[in-house]
């Protein structure tokens, strides 16, 4: 049946085009990769770039503080993190149904076909900003 051929072909095509890749990083820097706006880095306004629908900002190695905003229809949450950044490490900031709305994971490229996230870190506080 033609729809089965289409389904298999689409699956193969997606598999060939969607491969995991590691972004090269400057020496002594890690990277924050976030689905949500990165507002502040160590108390200063952050200037993230947007690539493939995600916010990215380089972050120096060592103990760092940063703020990420989780937007909702009724208001926003500014979640503040403390993180000991390792050079060359990518950190993914995601939403999870946890006691706090955002969480930071370490991202590890396993093979060209899949990556793994580990060592979740919750924010030490999330401030509610009503609309």
């Amino acid at each position: 049946m033609t729809w089965r051929v289409f389904t298999v072909s689409l699956t193969v095509l997606l598999s060939l085009t969607a491969c995991v890749s590691q972004t090269p990083m400057p020496p002594g820097q890690g990277m924050l990769h976030s689905s949500y706006p990165i507002r502040q880095l160590n108390g200063e306004p952050a200037s993230p770039t947007i690539r493939r629908g995600a916010f990215r900002v380089w972050i120096p190695e060592g103990p760092q503080q940063f703020t990420v905003r989780y937007p909702t229809l009724s208001g926003d949450y500014d979640c503040r993190f403390e993180l000991d950044v390792v050079a060359g490490q990518r950190y993914d900031i995601l939403h999870r149904t946890l006691p706090e709305p955002l969480v930071v994971f370490q991202w590890h490229e396993q093979t060209d076909l899949w990556a793994r996230r580990s060592d979740p870190v919750l924010p030490y506080e999330c401030e509610w900003l009503s609309r």
């Binding site: 729809w3 491969c19 949500y36 009724s74 995601l94 706090e100 979740p120």
Partner: protein, 323 residues
């Protein structure tokens, strides 16, 4: 005589062949079913396997005049995609669906058995979904999405007549076996509300879903199955998830207890043999946090076991759960 809804395609095609007319004639009144009943049952079976939210299960229907086994399975995914600088995001998903049905219907006239109809069905389909989502606050999220389902249904029916039927009817209706093929295209709009909250370490979740479905069927072998219908389905689930101290394969293990209610609103019971059911069970899930192909995240892998009970339907659901 008790009216029984069933799918005797064989009768219709046999009558059509004998009469050599374009229109499919009505069934003999003694059986108590009509072409409209057959169309309704066909669409109900398509929707019962393909609509969003319907998961794999092994169902058993048992009444005084009906007995059947309905197996359905699906392999699918759904993913929320956040957009930069936007509260509203995108949702997309898809699924491969399959199902089988084996059932027997007994026709009676004043408690005297007239005939038995055996029906075997197979359905396979492909569903794609796209829509939007938005969090209301940190505890709740609303999702609205459109789904399109293409499916192909094959039915084989056999009618066994008993001697008590009037002779003139028996002359027309002998034991006949017939195969019909139907293609179906369904469009549905689903509104979904998710809410969760923590009390201590336990996470309580509510997931409510309402789908309105338009189904259009076509058949080259059975003209009376060129039809369409609107249907509505409501589902609600309550679950509680608690962490365990076990870490198999060095990954955190959680246990979720859930109760889910599914209601095929406005559907006559005879179309599927049931109109609602509850499913209660357990899911043991491991947190894996993988991202295959950089397309979507795989948060949990779990094993599920659930028991199903409804109006004249029982069953179980066992399988792998990917979140």
């Amino acid at each position: 005589m008790r009216q029984i809804l069933s799918l005797p395609y064989i009768l219709l095609c046999a009558l059509a062949a004998n009469n050599a007319v374009a229109q499919t004639p009505e069934l003999p009144p003694v059986l108590g079913i009509t072409l409209a009943d057959i169309r309704q049952a066909t669409i109900a079976f398509v929707n019962g396997n393909t609509i969003p939210g319907v998961q794999g299960a092994d169902l058993h229907i048992q009444t005084d005049d009906r007995q059947g086994t309905h197996l359905r399975s699906s392999l699918g995914f759904g993913a929320d995609v956040t957009l930069p600088n936007s509260t509203v995001g995108l949702f997309w998903g898809g699924a491969l669906i399959s199902g089988t049905l084996e059932e027997s219907h007994w026709f009676t006239d004043d408690s005297v058995p007239i005939a038995r109809l055996d029906v075997d069905r197979e359905i396979s389909g492909l569903r794609a979904a796209a829509g939007v989502f938005a969090p209301w606050n940190r505890w709740s999220r609303f999702r609205l999405y459109y789904s399109a389902v293409y499916s192909e249904l094959n039915t084989q029916s056999g009618l066994l007549m008993y001697e008590s039927l009037p002779q003139e009817v028996i002359n027309d209706l002998d034991a006949i076996f017939f195969t019909s093929d139907v293609t179906s295209l369904s469009s549905s709009l689903t509104a979904q509300l998710e809410w969760f909250h923590y009390w201590g370490e336990a996470k309580w979740e509510v997931d409510a879903k309402y789908s309105s479905i338009y189904t259009d069927t076509r058949s080259e072998t059975s003209q009376h199955l060129d039809t369409w219908a609107w249907s509505d389905v409501a589902q609600a689930e309550l679950s509680v998830t608690v962490p365990s101290r076990f870490r198999p394969f060095s990954q955190a293990l959680q246990v979720q207890m859930y109760t889910q209610y599914s209601d095929f609103l406005g559907l006559p019971k005879a179309a599927l043999g049931y109109t609602y059911y509850f499913e209660t069970g357990l899911i043991a899930e491991w947190e894996v946090n993988l991202k295959p192909l950089d397309l979507f995240g795989l948060r949990m892998v779990g094993l599920k076991a659930g028991y199903i009970a409804g109006d004249d339907v029982t069953g179980y659901s066992v399988g792998l759960v990917l979140k």
